[in-house]
Amino acid sequence: MDSAEFIQKLTDAVGEEFIHTDPVALRTYDCDGLTIYKGIPSAVVLPETTEEVSRIVGICREYRVPLIARGAGTGLSGGATPLPGGVLIVFTRMNKILELDYVNRLARVQPGVVNLHLSRETLPHGFHYAPDPSSQAACTIGGNTAENAGGAHCLKYGMTTNHILEMTVVLPTGEVVHLGADGEDSPGLDLRGFFVGSEGTFAVITELIVRLTPNPESVRTMLACFAQVGDACRTVSDVIAAGAVPAAMELMDRYTIEAVETVVQAGYPKDAEAVLLIELDGLPSSIKPLETLIRDISEKNNCSSFRIAQTEEEREGLWMGRKKAFGAFGVIAPTYYCLDGTVPRSKLAQVLEEFDEISARYNLRITNVFHAGDGSLHPNVLFDDRVPGETERAIECGSEVLRACIRAGGVLSGEHGIGIEKIREMKDQFDEPTLEIMERVRDAIDQDGLMNPGKLIPDEENVFPVALGGAVARMGGGMTK
């Protein structure tokens, strides 16, 4: 392949200012929020329109160069990490909110719009965009869609896929198609549902119509503290079994409390083994009985204290602790690896016990902070990457944690996606025929195998090696969704 010619064509497609080929620039794009796997792209392009993206895809196809889409690069499974030599399409310039339609409760946005920026625009008008990954202040709606991201409030409001009505995508052929419709239902195959969460292995998203959700009439946030993690877990399953659906229900264990209190002083009691952060929203008259119900269930499960935020400031403080939890781990360990397996709520207590056992066996601490309400776990393996062999041990430990989730009837990923990170365990999760049908679907859409290769579906040809030592400092860093 004539690489100079290839780069020239890309340059013509986006303009000289919006293509990077300088080795220094390319290095900074070698991974996303998961720093353990890296790949240096051959070029980074920053298109401005769907037409430009289509042209880029066409050029990559012509020269058979893999392409990878990237929003803010905050993902935790390596979804935006380029296969070495691939072209990275970055959406930071396609960040416009194109239309806000409050009557039909939808917004038309470009994929690079930051999740929280959409809500910031619509909040004063009585609406918000409901999926709220902890990284929502930075992550983009395009990336959220590709990964089918979750968030604390998805317990009540559903994952990203429940909020994407229509998407414009560029297919591997360069063709532009529209999937879904701006109404509640669309005729034909539900290809929209099919492309959400496909992690860039089918197509590149260039425009979205998303649902806007009315703001709740009122919100109550409470903190229940427990001397036993098991009691906190039972409270979660009892609350859901009693028919209540809180807006959010988050569990943090002792290590997390310790880290959070060191960094932000959220007001969690340091002697508790676990705290539950619970939020209710809706009409005040409907919240009141739920509040009583949750308090009763917590007390039945031996909660040591129960506190309701009295002011907006207090409420924000309680949430601040949760949202900064992952960053705060830096205080209690040099490095950590964040996983996101999901288990049935009824198995929470049992699985956490199993994690303790795995932790003892590997002699690595595992902390837990997660969306308890929907059983979406975030076990974090703490380790020191400067100790030879410890990174590999942490990866093995993580893999065992994921397999424990699968054994308990759960799944590999609740919201971070499979990416490179969990591709190995896909074979533990799915049997041969299931994996094969996934592969056949992907191959039918991406016939040349150029769309984000080496991600999501096991692929013997494109394996990312673990990047050890040198510049690798942390893995799975950052906040979870």
Binding site: D22, V24, V90, G330, A473, R474, M479
Partner: protein, 451 residues
């Protein structure tokens, strides 16, 4: 460790010396604290404008790490992206891991100066400015007088009319702040007694450019302090704080000035070292880090930094006296970066403003965003600076406030320039000046001897 790094670096890039070694280099442990989560991106004005990873805090830390570890040469591309950083420290507010980005970027800039090839003329100019002009009150006032002469006589229209300046200078000339009358540059009195009962005694820090261009703000602050029962002492041998030098990579000059100021002001003998210029305030707070390795000054620097305080913080802590402003006005408050992000001073200036009856604070969008002034950034990175100013002025316009309040001379100059350029009738003023006007109008100062 350091020598190993250096050896490794020399093998890969024989033509470069690794600039990031030694005790003053970016702290490798602090670089390690960055977990690459990317939360800082949207807080960063340059990443938002340009969309490049290399122009984001995370990307810049990545560059610093690779240069430190000897994986990358400190070449022009590295410098370009580190130079584009405003050092506004908004990323520190967004960072969940507590990465001290400000000290990393300043250490990196100091290191890069070692390998940077600057034209001789620029090096001389930097030396004159940082080591000679800023720390010298007489010279600085002379420059102020010259500017005033230029701006108030036929000189300006002649220079502009005849196109006498080279292109780059002609572009920068309108950005020059309007110099005040010479009387405003006069020295501050050595001591001002409290009005009524004396409750506190503070040392006042004037600042270099502040004293020349915004002497009136200093005097307003001193009067307002006096009105709140504070005796204000002005130690005359104080000098420039060193902030501009530190931001531009000349931390050695900043250290020299820091020692002079610590010698000049016996911080221990006062309730606080108060100042009405937030950029200097952040610098005084950082003396403890700047001189941490200094065997003689380390502990004194720490004591000094602890006493340094913005005038709005001091007033709000002691419970600021209320007064009504004679002209009812809507104001929009712009947070100076170093006050908001570096010192985390967020509520206090607004508390001082709320003590002024008749002054109504209206929301200003992105009020915690850099205006593009950023020390000498508007001169070195004019294009990005002007884009940020444009964004800021758009929000100011939308706020419909005829007054913008802000506590840093850099921001005041920049926003005032933005208003002039756009033909906006906008008053840009330090919060303490409004308080001073209110006290004056209420007769608080009657019979007092004040500057």
């Amino acid at each position: 460790m350091a020598t190993d790094q250096k050896a490794g670096f020399a093998q890969v890039f024989p033509e470069y010396e690794n600039p990031f070694v030694g005790p003053e280099a970016p702290d490798r442990e602090m670089i390690q604290r960055c977990i690459h989560c990317g939360f800082c991106g949207t807080s960063c004005p340059t990443f938002t404008l340009l969309g490049n990873e290399m122009d984001s805090p995370r990307g810049r830390i990545y560059l610093m790490r690779m240069v430190t570890d000897g994986e990358m040469a400190p070449n022009e591309t590295v410098m370009k992206h580190l130079d584009r950083c405003l050092d506004c420290r908004a990323c520190e507010t967004a960072c969940p891991s507590g990465v001290p980005y400000g000290s990393l970027i300043e250490a990196a800039r100091e290191g890069l100066e070692k390998v940077r090839k600057r034209p001789l003329s620029v090096r001389i100019l930097r030396r004159i400015l940082f080591r000679w002009l800023l720390p010298n009150r007489v010279l600085l006032n002379l420059a102020g007088v010259a500017t005033r002469l230029y701006q108030t006589t036929f000189l300006r229209s002649m220079v502009r009319g005849l196109g006498l300046l080279p292109k780059k200078l002609a572009e920068l000339e309108p950005m020059m702040p309007e110099a005040p009358p010479v009387s405003s540059m006069r020295a501050l009195p050595a001591e001002v007694a409290a009005i009524g009962e004396e409750k506190y005694r503070v040392a006042f820090f004037g600042g270099c450019i502040q004293s020349t261009l915004f002497g009136d703000v200093n005097r307003a602050a001193i009067r307002a302090l006096a009105a709140n029962g504070v005796r204000v002492v002005f130690p005359a041998s104080q000098t420039c704080c060193g902030a501009l030098q530190a931001h531009a990579g000349d931390r050695e000059a900043a250290r020299i000035l820091a020692r002079e100021n610590i010698d000049a002001i016996d911080a221990g003998g006062f309730d606080a070292v108060v100042l009405a210029v937030s950029g200097c305030g952040a610098m005084l707070h950082e003396y403890k880090d700047l001189l941490a390795e200094d065997p003689v000054y380390a502990s004194r620097a720490e004591a000094f930094s602890e006493k340094a305080m913005d005038v709005t913080v001091f007033l709000s802590r002691i419970g600021v006296r209320e007064a009504a402003h004679p002209e009812p006005r809507k104001i929009a408050y712009h947070h100076p970066c170093h006050l908001f992000h570096a010192l985390k001073v967020r509520k206090e200036p607004l508390e001082v403003l709320s003590a002024i009856r008749n002054v109504e604070s209206v929301p200003l969008r992105e009020s915690d965003w850099c205006c593009g002034s950023a020390g000498s950034y508007n001169l070195t990175q004019t294009e990005i600076s002007m884009q940020l100013l444009d964004r800021k002025m758009g929000h100011v316009k939308d706020s419909e406030a005829p007054v913008v309040c802000t506590g840093n001379p850099g921001c005041q100059i920049q926003i005032a320039f933005g208003a002039r350029e756009r033909g906006m009738d906008l008053r840009v003023v330090h919060p303490v000046v409004l308080l001073d006007e209110a006290y004056e109008a209420e007769g608080v100062y009657r019979n007092a001897t004040l500057p």
